[in-house]
Amino acid sequence: MSVSAALGRTLRHPSFRMAAIDMAGTSLGIAAWGLVTGVAMVKSGMSVGMAVFMSLLVYAGSAQLAVIPLLSVGAPLWVVWLTAACVNLRFVIFSSMWRSYFAHLPLRQRLAVGYFSGDVIYVAFMKRFPEPRPAPEQVPYFWGAASTNWLAWQVPSIAGILLANAVPLSWGLGFAGVLALLGVLLSLLFDRATWLATGVAATAAIAAFALPLKLNILVALAAAVAAGLLMEAVDRRRRQPELLLVPADSVMPPEEREHVEAGDVVPLREERHP
C-alpha cells in the first residue's frame, strides 16, 4: 500500500472528520496560546526566521515560553534543555497512556504519533475511546485531532511572529509570555506541598541569580523538588501514587485534595496547547 493511498484513506475516514469537530471547541483557546507564544519569541530578540523555525520544529507551547528568557541571555544549552525537559514531563506520563492504543504500530509511526500528540488531543481521544485497547478507527481519529491541533497552533503562532515584528519592543508585549507561564504555574498549585515547592524555587532562583551560566535555575529546581518530596516524606506510608487527570481551567475536586496532600494521588494538569 502506497503512502498516498494510506493518507487518502485516513483523510476520508469518518473518524478523521469527527475528531476535527471534537477539537473545534478548544481550537480558539489553542490559537490564543499560539499567538502569545509567537509574539513572546520575537519580542525576546529572536529573529523572525529563527522564531518560525522554532515554532514549526519544537511545537511545544510551555517549553518554548519557558526557554525564551534563557535563550535571550545565552544560557548554556544544557540548562535550556533541562528546563524544557522538566516542563515536558507531563508528556512522558501521557506517552504511557498512548501506548495502550498505539503499541501495535511500527516505531516510526509511534514516534510520529508522539510528536503530534498533546494534552488537548488526549482529552478528546479519551472521551471517544475510554477503553484502553486498540481499535481500527483510532488512527484516523488521532490524525484528525492532531492535524486540527497543529493548524490551530501553527497558523496563529506564525501570525504572532510576523505581527510582533511590526510592534516596538518598548511596548513590552513579550510580558504576555511570562503571564502565560504564570497561569500554567498557578494551575499546578494543588496543595500545601506544591505551594511550598514553588516558594522555595522562587527564593532560590532569585537568591542564586548572580551564579554564572544560569545555574540559579538548577539550584531552584533541585531545592524545590527536594522540598516537595521531603514534605511528602513527613507522611511516609510509601503507597504507589495514582494519577488524576485534572482538566484545564478547572478546580481539582475538593475531595481529592486530601489524597493529593497525603501523596496517594498525583494530579496531572491538562494544558490547552501543544
Partner: protein
Amino acid sequence: MSWSWIYPLLATVGLAVITVVSRSFFMIPERELPLPDWLKRGLKYAPLAALTAVIAPEILMVQGELIDTFMDARLPAVLFASVYYFWRRGILGTIVVGMAVYLPLHIGWGW
C-alpha cells in the same frame, strides 16, 4: 562572519528532540515498561519548579537586582492576573487581565 545563529539553531534542534522523546517516551520500547513511582512524584514538582525558576526573576528582578520600587508595571499586573486566575480558573483570561493592567502602566506611565 557571524556565528550568532548557531546557538539558537542548536537549542531549537535539541528542543525538537526533547519534544519527540518526551511525547513518545513509553511508546519507544517494544516491551511495555512500568511507569515508575518516582516519575509520578516528580511530575508533581519538576514542572512547577522549572516554571517558577524561570518566571520569578522575570517578575521580581530588574538588571539582576530585586525590584526596589512599587512603580513597576509587572507587580500590579501579576497581582491582578493571579487574583483573576483564582477567581475564574482561566489561563487565557489571566493573560488578558495581566496585559490590560501592564500595558497602560508600562506604555502610558513608563513604569
